[in-house]
Amino acid sequence: MSNFMARLAGRNRKSANQAKERLQLVLIHDRTNLSNSVLETIKDEIIEVLSRHIDIESDTVSVEINNDGRQQRLLADIPILGAKRKR
């Protein structure tokens, strides 16, 4: 039964979609020459610098690369802790 479900799930994920998703990641990496570990380091250092000035929610910070045509953008999403929770 679970085998059957797995096959159903597999069938829903068309191989063309898998190919596209895999290519999206590979191309970002090829174009920027940035590995995940470098991105992690960048994230840690951003947290470190910003924490000197503001309180941020360091657990939910995300740093990722997005495609904009043939250009790549580094996007950082950094939630700031509310005033209430400060002090």
Partner: protein, 269 residues
């Protein structure tokens, strides 16, 4: 006449560069254009056999570069297709026998007397590719709907931009509409989105290509072949005509979308 130099390249081998070069040449010549095809794959020449001219080679491009013959002596005139010429590669030498500046010089010598020079680039990103890129006015990147070919195409597009030879234009070869429909082949739209360059041709998978290669006759001469039709259309687009992309039947929705993509995307004019 001031020929434009078109370079057909891909990164990955076996995606159809040579077939596309030969057929683009034949198609342009059939529109009364004067065309020279240059085989850039020194050491692994093939454009001669695809064009069916292998028995007529006397001199090759390395003979020209090393001064053993004049450029015109190395040019083979296709007797079946008026206006089409081939400069073959050397078979017993390697890529370093020719330099990028040699290629620029050869193309500059051809420019006044021809309409188009089409260079068939070898696979890879090394010397042979650099040779093919150096004289290019326009670069056509060929890919297949497969992850490896798309990835390599992206590298080539990046290098073309870095060398200020861009923007390259994309030819997607060997699309199988039934597989795309089933969700088992990356679609044209997805490839264009991933590579983010202008599309200039979509060629369907077509077993007639092998038959025409067996005979050494360009498939554009076969009016019934879909691949031949698609290649004819690319040639017309190269000449500046606005030709809609082929409707590969029973794919209504899919190819209508492509039509939209073409009319809205890409360069103006």
């Amino acid at each position: 006449m001031a020929a434009k130099v078109l370079t057909v390249t891909s990164g990955k081998g076996g995606v159809g560069k040579t077939t596309i070069t030969a057929n683009l040449g034949a198609a342009l010549a059939s529109h009364n254009q004067k065309v020279v095809c240059i085989d850039g794959d020194i050491g692994l020449r093939n454009l001669d056999v695809v064009l069916g001219l292998e028995n007529r080679i006397v001199y090759d491009i390395v003979d020209v570069v090393e001064g053993r013959c004049k450029l015109r002596q190395a040019m083979i005139r296709d007797k079946r297709i008026e206006g089409l010429f081939l400069i073959p590669a050397a078979q017993t030498r390697d890529k370093t026998a020719v330099s990028p500046s040699d290629m620029v010089r050869i193309c500059d010598e051809l420019r006044p007397d021809y309409d188009w020079v089409i260079i068939d680039s070898p696979a890879g990103i090394e010397r042979g590719f650099r040779n093919a890129l150096a004289p290019a006015d326009r670069v056509f990147v060929v890919t297949n709907p497969e992850v490896s070919a798309v990835r390599d195409a992206d590298r080539i597009i990046g290098i073309t931009e870095a060398e200020e030879k861009g923007p390259a234009q994309l030819i997607i070869n060997r699309i199988n509409p039934a597989m795309v429909e089933r969700g088992d082949m990356i679609s044209t739209i997805d490839i264009v989105e991933l590579l983010a360059i202008e599309l200039i041709g979509i060629i369907p998978e077509d077993s007639n290509v092998i038959v025409s290669t067996n005979r050494g006759l360009p498939i554009v001469l076969d009016g019934k072949s879909q691949a031949g039709q698609a290649l004819q259309n690319i040639a017309r687009r190269v000449m500046g005509e606005n030709v809609p992309f082929l409707d590969l039947n029973d794919q209504g929705g899919f190819f209508k979308q492509i039509g939209k993509l073409f009319s809205s995307g890409g360069k103006n004019e």
